[in-house]
Subunit: 192 residues, 4 copies
Amino acid sequence: MSPRTQDQLQQLRETRKQHILEAALKVFAAHGYDGATINMIAKEAGIAKGLMYTYYESKEKLVEELIRFGLKKAASFMQEKPFHHLTTRKAFEESLRHMIDLFLQETDFWRLYTMLALQPNLASKFKKESMAFVEQYLGIYIAYFQKRKSKDPMAEAMLLGTIIDGLMFDLLIAPAEYPLDDVIKMVVKKFA
Amino acid sequence: MSPRTQDQLQQLRETRKQHILEAALKVFAAHGYDGATINMIAKEAGIAKGLMYTYYESKEKLVEELIRFGLKKAASFMQEKPFHHLTTRKAFEESLRHMIDLFLQETDFWRLYTMLALQPNLASKFKKESMAFVEQYLGIYIAYFQKRKSKDPMAEAMLLGTIIDGLMFDLLIAPAEYPLDDVIKMVVKKFA
Amino acid sequence: MSPRTQDQLQQLRETRKQHILEAALKVFAAHGYDGATINMIAKEAGIAKGLMYTYYESKEKLVEELIRFGLKKAASFMQEKPFHHLTTRKAFEESLRHMIDLFLQETDFWRLYTMLALQPNLASKFKKESMAFVEQYLGIYIAYFQKRKSKDPMAEAMLLGTIIDGLMFDLLIAPAEYPLDDVIKMVVKKFA
Amino acid sequence: MSPRTQDQLQQLRETRKQHILEAALKVFAAHGYDGATINMIAKEAGIAKGLMYTYYESKEKLVEELIRFGLKKAASFMQEKPFHHLTTRKAFEESLRHMIDLFLQETDFWRLYTMLALQPNLASKFKKESMAFVEQYLGIYIAYFQKRKSKDPMAEAMLLGTIIDGLMFDLLIAPAEYPLDDVIKMVVKKFA
DNA sequence: TATGAATGAGATTTCATTCAT
DNA sequence: AATGAATGAAATCTCATTCAT
């Protein structure tokens, strides 16, 4: 038969790459960067080990791409409506809940991200992207606290950021036991 | 020279075990459980690889002991004065600062602990000890918030716990840039 | 357009085979038989990896053909004028220079040939053709030395052959530094 | 029992390294750098694959050491008596025969050396050592031809060098058929 | 015929653990 | 008890060859 067109191949590659990325995320999140093996990922993706290397040149590059991709996605989430022009208490609460939802939809990514961030030699790979993301979301809340005439908007935003980090961590560790709704209400009460 | 007594030998053995534990902590914290090698640890401890195995029967048992030991130490810290009978705002702030100091003195341990906690297959090894510790310190703050007539002492303590987790995380990631003092003040303002 | 005739197709196929052979020669010469990959050769030839296999059934067969082809070409060179009826000193020198020119025009082939010849398991593939070629050119010089009344035409031809092998080797290793002309003059002085 | 002394270990290591080097030489000579595998070498040396890496950090480093070691040995051969103060025809012949003997005792090394020299990317690894060796032995014969009042000692030495290279090559390819003695006599007749 | 994705065997390398001394 | 050499399973990665299109 005739060979696939350039377009079909491009399509195929893109789909496969995405598929591998998803499998890799699952495995890395479960076992950590060093604990995960290419074999596990290939099996999870349902492909031969060797094929991994037609798509990603090494385990290292794979994880880098994974993180870069996830952070880009997260950054674009932060551009969404619920984070625009926060002024009211209600909008604040909504933004918070929206953020947590997003996190809950991507726990695998955030688990991996957190693990890597804790290992200096691995974290350095995506420090820049990571800082950009943090600044973006801190900026949003600093602006909010300024509008609310907080005496120290910077510190208040920082604390909120720390709470979000803590929430992320707690929800990764023991999601079932965590009284998420009560805590959110408490946060809103104290911050909004 | 007379041969060492049984006791002296036992003593020596204990010291050595402790020494290995410290070396292991340093290496595990830097490279993660899977990324660390027995060789690295032996070198860090200044002993031969093979000798490791007369003290700890495997890499796995070594981390387990490490975590168990660290959590026990942390639990005993929580028994110290600054955490007794918190009533005043001042005592609350002191307890908080004391806690953070303890953390800052043992960042390697908490870094490792955090990494492991995020990896379900590894976390299961010390779930019990871990939960006991969390309950202990949550208990202290629940009691505090009850005394302060909080409407929801449980949620407030939980949020405080989350803040402490977030602080721990943020200080592990970027200690230099974190405005710790400002944030503590903000916490005290909002909670005490 | 009318479909190509059987003949045209055959023609095309031959041209393509030749093209692949040239690409393969370049790559094999640069990296050796085991160091070269089918991928490299396909890229050099500007065709898809898979297509290689419709022309040559395996990497092994490809080198074999390559060597066979090159030796045949070399053998036919030896049939050319400059090698007929060597009698005079001048004709001897000319034949030598002609030979070296031929070599210099095909250094890639001779580099590969030399590499393979040194590896017994690979050399065996083309031993016959190789010996035929050597005998052909030795014959020419044995005849020459006989005409010149050498006391040991065989040994003298053999030595000349060895010189040619040495020249080939030296010119492959460090062509720029080699004082080729001075050495040829010296050979002529000593042999012609 | 008590552990081995520093000395015993050093001894053991040295012996093993040498043993591996010999096995590696054999395998590399037979299959070429890329054709040889660590597995083959380990088997030839009678040790486990993994142990190779306690002695040589990579396949690449192993060949490098092999070549460096062999060239050093060859260079020190060139310091021996038969090459001192060549003046007489007899001494010249002796030096030649001595040289060829040395080559014949180390054909594996020279086979490997020749193969590597032909592959530019591999040859670069030991260019310096290689050039030093060539200069050393060329120097000896330039001096000889100067003493013999040759009109062009440099070219004559160069030609002799080329002959030696050619001899080496021919003896590697087909030692059994080569009329070595006749050719040596012919060389002596023409050069001494 | 032509493409390059896909396979799978095997290459290089690593490392927890054992062993001889 | 102490050493580090040795093992062997398994990890990362490569590549000749096949296959679906």
